[in-house]
């Protein structure tokens, strides 16, 4: 009986193949494994039909709380995904292909990723982009390692307003590399520029900032860029790509490397992944970039085509001297990002960004009207903002979760003395009615 219907051989075919090989059973082919090492147990449950499998997966979904109304972000955002994104990225010529090492039969993937790199460059204002990294957090770590290589220095300075998960991943990546990570404590939810000035010296390879930051604050880092460059270090800016519909680009601020998470560009929340990380930089840094890069060239007849280029940076050639260990990236989700950006288009992205800000500003005003609630006013915001509640945010959020409302991310878990602070996110998907509902429920929860 064929336990896996994805294994196609009939018993006769198996016999023919065994005869061709010159063995009498499949088991004989496993003879190279010493018998005393063979598995003594194998406790995977018996298999089932496709129909039953799908039903089991539906049952798992049903074990999660249904229809949560999201006002949470923290790096992942509930945005519109045009139908074309699923349909086109769902073409199996894209999703069942491998890495395009054979360019003649992979021009679809290669041209799409070249177009993706172009989109990332145009979004960030940078000159060069790779073909994606794992996620936004690991992209921050890769950018830091890139700066360490370029400068030959051994210290990374990080704004404490950068997403705490990105900072944690950065520390994990750098822990074994004899690199010091210095964090600048936030000043009212913004970069403490005096402390940064003090931390800058000739041992600093890079300064990592984020815009908008974890508190939701939007800043201009142009002046910082001059200071950082004056100290011989690189400025790395982590950015939220949807916000770049209107906000100043990392290149416009003088950053050398731009990174971020591409989830917001047409990728579902999907409990945290897959999304993709992007990294883009000034042209001079291209040979220190991690991961795959697609380049344009021609064939013998002069026809334009695309190939993986500068592969001498990568692990399959350079092994332990590679710019990174990355091999698989998140190509399919970068493709989704490209389809999203091509679909929403030049004006559409700006309009979408404005819509996010308009909704968030409306929400900010509604929440500010609740007695005892104040808004962090230190800087303008995009689609996330920080409010201070009259009592610890954790209990309030836990309360509202029971009502199907994810009201925001309490900052107490991530910053000292911030127990009452809550970061609220409002994307274009939230309606005025939903925002009013949040304000009403929050007010009610605070009265309890």
């Amino acid at each position: 009986m064929n336990e896996s219907h994805y294994c196609p051989h009939s018993p006769e075919e198996i016999s023919e193949m065994l005869a061709a090989i010159g063995v009498s059973s499949v088991e004989e082919l496993f003879a190279p494994i010493p018998s005393d090492l063979r598995a003594k147990t194998f406790n995977i449950p018996p298999g089932m039909s496709e129909f039953e499998t799908y039903a089991r997966m539906q049952a798992i979904v049903a074990d999660n709380s249904k229809s949560m109304l999201n006002f949470i972000g923290g790096g992942f955002y509930d945005h519109i995904i045009p139908s074309v994104v699923d349909h086109l990225s769902g073409r199996s010529e894209f999703y069942t292909a491998y890495t395009p090492y054979q360019p003649e039969c992979s021009q679809g993937t290669l041209q799409a990723l070249f177009e993706y790199q172009t989109a990332i460059c145009r979004l960030t204002g940078m000159d060069v982009s790779n073909a994606s990294l794992y996620d936004g957090a690991t992209a921050c770590a890769e950018a830091a390692m890139m700066a360490l290589r370029v400068t030959g220095r051994n210290r990374i300075v990080v704004d404490g307003c950068v997403n705490p998960f990105s900072r944690q991943v950065l520390k994990t990546y750098l822990y074994n590399l004899k690199v010091e990570v210095v964090e600048i404590a936030p000043l009212d939810g913004t970069l403490n520029r005096d402390e940064l000035a003090k931390a800058l010296d000739d041992s600093v390879a890079a300064v990592l900032v984020q815009n908008p930051n974890f508190f939701g604050c939007v800043e201009d880092f142009s002046a910082i860029a001059d200071q950082v460059h004056g100290a011989g270090a690189l400025l790395v800016a982590s950015v939220y790509p949807v916000s770049l519909g209107i906000l100043k680009t990392p290149a416009g601020m003088g950053a050398d490397i731009a990174v971020g998470d591409g989830q917001s560009l047409g990728n579902p929340l999907s409990f945290g992944g897959p999304s993709f990380g992007f990294i883009a930089a000034k042209k001079a840094l291209i040979r220190n970039m991690p991961g795959r890069i697609i380049g344009e060239t021609i064939d013998k007849q002069g026809r334009r085509g695309y190939v993986l280029t500068l592969q001498a940076r990568e692990q399959h050639i350079k092994r332990h001297k590679a710019t990174s260990n990355i091999c698989s990236n998140q190509g399919l989700y970068a493709l989704r990002g490209l389809i999203f950006l091509s679909s929403i288009g030049k004006q559409g992205l700006a309009e979408m960004a404005r819509l996010n800000r308009d909704k968030a500003e409306y929400a900010k005003a509604q929440l500010a009207d609740i007695p005892g609630v104040t808004v962090l006013q230190s800087a303008p915001t995009f689609n996330e903002f920080t409010v201070f509640l009259p009592r610890p945010a954790a209990a309030v959020v836990a309360d509202l979760l029971k009502h199907g409302l994810a009201a925001g991310v309490p900052l107490g878990d991530y910053y000292e003395d911030s127990a009452n602070a809550l970061v609220v996110t409002v994307t274009e998907k939230r309606t005025r009615k939903e925002i009013d509902h949040l304000a009403k429920e929050l007010e009610a929860a605070l009265c309890n």
Binding site: I72, T96, Y98, E104, K248
Partner: protein, 480 residues
Amino acid sequence: MQLIYEKSTPGRNGVRLPASDVPAAAALPESLLRTEAAGLPEVSELDLVRHFTILSQRNFSVDTNFYPLGSCTMKYNAKVLENAAALFAPFHPMTALLPQGAACCQGTLGMLYDLGQMLADITGMDEVTTQPLAGAHGEMTGIMLISAYHKAKGNKKKYVLVPDSSHGTNPASAAMAGYEIITVPTAPYGDMDLELFKKAMNSEVAAVMMTCPNTLGLFNPHIKEISDIAHSHDALMYYDGANLNAIMGKVKPGDVGFDVVHVNLHKTFGTPHGGGGPGAGPVGVKKSLIPFLPQPRIVMDGEGQFLLETANQLSIGRTANFFGNFGVMVKAYAYIIMLGRQGLIQVSEQAVLNANYIKEKLKAYYDVPYDMTCMHECVFSASKQLAHGVHAIDIAKYLIDKGYHPPTVYFPMIVKEAIMIEPTETESKATMDAFIQVMIEAAQVAETDPQALHDAPLTMPIGRLDETKAAREQNVCCQW
């Protein structure tokens, strides 16, 4: 073919956004705004659909072509897996990290926990983290766990030892965890040279990284002895799970002495490769390494509730944003429960059967540098063809014209003109017989008309590309 940017017309729009139902906000200060709109394409939905549909048709894929790419396990990706993953699209990962948020995510957290348990059983490990986002990310995480283990014990370790046939990611990942690399040559019997290994081994070795079966498709008969020697120096054994498809239910890495493994869900567990990603690289460990696992770690309490451990001081910390490539995990979970115990055993058996069948059928035409029973893949050399000036790459390009994705060529690096074939278990005998016939033809053409192989491929939208020009000009972004 034009780029999407070359099809752009100012003012055209592919998406209509919802009308705003709130007042317009006061403008942000100029200094915070971009000076001009990002130069994204401006195309209609139909233009967009045609563009990407035609692009997709310029790809080979598992769904359109046999893809015997060694070391990559390009098996068929069952369609139900895609449907299963789509069910989970609306769940925000932050929900689980909110106060008492885990209670809202018992389905998703429980699935990750169960997947970890099943992978632990398959690999003979005690616990699995699903956080690593790809195979190489798993390797890096695994070596960081080993580093944390040694540091906690006060061991002074400096090196990671790898065979010269290893994947490039092995030494690259070890380097990212701060180790220096010792490379051990391969013996004539096709595996890491045992005597040279013994000489290279010393008390400063933190770990030995191995792929088993190795990249020649051979199961190392000395594996237990190697792990015993490594353990006698308090070095840990790292298992690169790239070739796990060969051994499910047959042998468990944990039983032969491995302490840490990573698993490539996109290879062994039927999740698609996505044109280069996403994959997923869960890491399994033996008990002694559990305290160092990444955070957040999913644990089950006494009442069967799933919780997140986030503040373990011994942990190496966070290696990625949230819980890994969750959608890939859903697919792998569905794959494992659907195939079940016997199904997974059958997968490995037929993967090994198929590879040996191709090896036997082609060995009269191509050199087999290590001719013995292989596991799920076999490695040939185009050295015979080289006598006629034909290289492995020429054979590869000829196959493209015949509708086959080429095997992996020039890897492992220790085989001259390597041609590495991994048919996987999902290919039929008829498909393999047709492929074998074309490989035989290629060997014949190599003798009679080598130029025809140098000229291939001729049937694709483009021919062989000038890679030197690409590297020199570094045109990686459309200037149009």
